[in-house]
Symmetry: C2
Subunit: 215 residues, 2 copies
DNA sequence: GTCTATACAGTGATAGAC
DNA sequence: GTCTATCACTGTATAGAC
């Protein structure tokens, strides 16, 4: 049995794996941006240059973390979108499409690592650098296109322009909710909160469905 | 006539003013976060310690910049919300309330400084530190409460829980659109964009109004 | 190949000289 | 009051040990 060089991550893992796990734990504890690479490598019990050797840069570590967390969401979305019930005309119900798209994302809020990932995602959405764009696209373009097609089927009369705008608005409500900005909480002096993932999903599906059906 | 120590900002301004102007210009050119305090003070033609002397920290400079840009928006909102047309029952039209709230924010996208501010705002929304919260609150809590009251009047049958959730979703569509994440643009290979502030306002009002009216 | 020690330029911040 | 000198720390790069 190998002795632990640090008790912060499982000792028998490979160096890159230790770095990723330590990074994710620190991010979920203290938020992204306030954690330096040196803290990560120290917590992982590896040399401070190891992160650069294995990943190339701090941003590359973030991207790797993002990609590996995003994949299960995309797969779950894919599966749910593929399993949609169709009516006699072969079209799915709007609410079912929305749920299939939104639930895998909002369910992340149920675990601390999910919340950390969610912050990472929100940050990536709002940094316009080309690299981040590609990372987001690699993870989500495919399922976004699937969702757009399913929505077009569910809303055969909706013009593409409106479809795109409303999909964009839906992403806004989703990302904003996932990021937990806390504005409503501040406004209502914490007598109301948006942290309940299940209630959020139901409320969001109703709100967004009505928006998609607007004249 | 004072000779210019730099041609980057008006030479006769006070030091703090020069710093703020230089900061805003650099942010709008290169985005926030990639600009160091030393670059700002150099561009402003002042000593590198001046920013700390006058503001206390880099974050304090950002907050000051944010607050002074936010104030006109809040004032415009206040004026538009106060000037709402009321029907015979003394209630405003939902769409009018939404427009009064959303237009001052979305109009920012029409100028480069507005876009820079908008990014700053999006970034602030997603950093959960207590300080930033207070900054956002100081700028926007008042008009948010005004908007909530007007919305409650326009939608007398809507329960408070639903009102809060839907207001939260509206903030999501607004902030997300203002931040221009470019996801739809990537999905449609730039054959469609969400950068038109006027079209965005109209689409958003329709979408959000339907969401607020959902059963 | 994997990892380490070490160095480097640039950051935000500050104490203390002028 | 203003500015210089300096601090501890960041992300990054590389030469060389195992």
């Amino acid at each position: 049995m190998a002795e632990a060089t640090t008790d912060l991550v499982e000792p028998e893992l490979s160096t890159p794996e230790r770095i990723l796990q330590a990074a994710e734990r620190l991010f979920s504890e203290r938020g992204i941006g306030d954690v330096s690479l040196r803290e990560i490598t120290t917590a992982a019990g590896v040399n401070s240059a190891a992160a650069h050797y294995h990943f190339g840069s701090k941003d590359a570590v973030l991207e790797e973390l993002f990609t590996r967390r995003a994949e299960p969401i995309a797969r779950q979305r894919e599966q749910m979108l593929g399993a949609l019930k169709l009516n006699r005309q072969g079209t799915p119900q709007l609410e079912d499409v929305l749920r299939a798209f939104l639930k895998p994302a909002l369910d992340l809020l149920k675990t601390p690592e999910g919340v950390a990932f969610t912050r990472l995602r929100a940050r990536m959405v709002f940094e316009r650098e080309e690299v981040r764009r590609q990372v987001m696209g690699k993870s989500f373009d495919r399922t976004n296109e699937m969702a757009l097609q399913a929505l077009a089927k569910a809303l055969p009369k909706l013009a593409p322009t409106e479809l795109y705008w409303r999909f964009h608005f839906m992403l806004g409500t989703m990302v904003y909710t996932m990021a937990r900005p806390g504005r409503i909480e501040a406004l209502t002096h914490d007598s109301f909160d948006t942290y309940d993932a299940d209630a959020g999903l139901e409320q969001m599906v109703r709100f967004v469905a009505a928006g998609f059906r607007a004249p």
